[in-house]
Symmetry: C2
Subunit: 213 residues, 2 copies
């Protein structure tokens, strides 16, 4: 069966482009693999049937009839292994690509999300304003380390765009307009990622998916 | 060269057993692979030389002379691929094992860490007490989903312990004594993980590493 991912029928405007089905869509486009989307409307993602694919009630999940998995990072790694384009052939390069996928998800995204949690999801809580500088400071510290690691390279591993860049760029998009602007090399890195034709095709498909305004 | 990871010469008592060199140590033990430890004292982990291996100034990093990576999750996956014992042979099972590694790191650990950040690292901030119930509630919601996914299985994928369980058990240890106690199947799952002889060997080596009291 054709590789199939799940996506939401609708999300609020502020969440569009950030929903994680963007990541496998982009990976499919970079590797030239055809894929299908199973669109979930309303509360379907929270149903018992869908939780068998994604226990946390989120998107995306992935199935090709043999491999049936969730977690955007795991899905992107699986897509990257199925066709050339996102994973170097040599063990050292493949290891570093995987390392950057996990660094994006475990060492950077929690700090990006902490800002979103404080400033959006806890905006009405009494601590939100007081705590804002602390979550910004924590994120800035991570971005400073990442900025130093990237240096003046085009991509994290040099000239070759990998699945590690794909996930890192999408994670960093969540910090645009915030502390990332203090690190011009990171902002330019994200812009280079977004400028890739495969990203643009994935973005168009992601947005076309939302039938409501 | 023998696979080598980094570890700290000393950490405060509250951090012992939680430091992430525990994860590759356990993976080496489960797969019967010999390994070496490069112990970093004082601020060495923050030096420019070490940041070339671990840009965020943390442990562990890993090198075997060919593959040179950081991120405990990526290191555990690499160890799991190098010898049998932690990764099923079939593509479906291997995909699920990798999915659970990433779920532990991206869907569970950020919520465990949010409690630690609030209750330990932000304990002296004016919002810490007020915010405590919120971070507990968020973690409890994730644990409820994970508890339902585990059900009455021994391990996340059934009878076979995988690298996904290894990382998930170590992540969940950070929630022991907290909301995890409301989910007896998760608490028993963590206890089963900790009871494994390979875990006990890794733990003994991890603790023996700290030369100071």
């Amino acid at each position: 069966m054709k590789p199939t991912i799940t996506a939401f029928a609708w999300v609020p405007a502020f969440a569009r482009t950030y929903v994680r089905d963007m990541r496998p869509r982009w990976a499919f486009e970079e590797t030239g693999q055809d894929y299908a989307v199973r669109v979930l409307a309303g509360d379907a993602v929270k149903s018992a049937a869908e939780r068998r694919h994604q226990p946390f009630g989120q998107v995306p999940s992935y199935s090709d009839g043999v491999v049936d998995i969730f977690e955007s990072g795991a899905i992107c790694l699986h897509i990257a292994r199925a066709a050339p384009g996102l994973l170097p052939d040599d063990p050292g390069g493949a290891g570093r690509a995987e390392q950057w996928v996990i660094a994006a998800l475990n060492s950077v995204e929690p700090f990006v999300m902490a800002v979103a949690v404080n400033d959006i999801f806890e905006a009405d809580r009494p601590w939100s304003k007081d705590r804002h500088p602390k979550v910004i400071e924590d994120l800035r510290a991570r971005l400073a380390d990442l900025s130093a690691a990237l240096g003046d390279r085009t991509w994290l591993d040099g000239d070759t765009f990998t699945v590690g860049d794909l996930v890192m760029v999408h994670v960093l998009r969540g910090a645009l307009g915030g502390p990332i602007e203090a690190f011009p090399n990171l902002a330019a890195y994200v812009a280079r990622g977004e400028a890739r034709p495969a990203y643009q095709r994935a973005l168009a498909a992601h947005l076309a998916n939302f039938t409501d305004p």
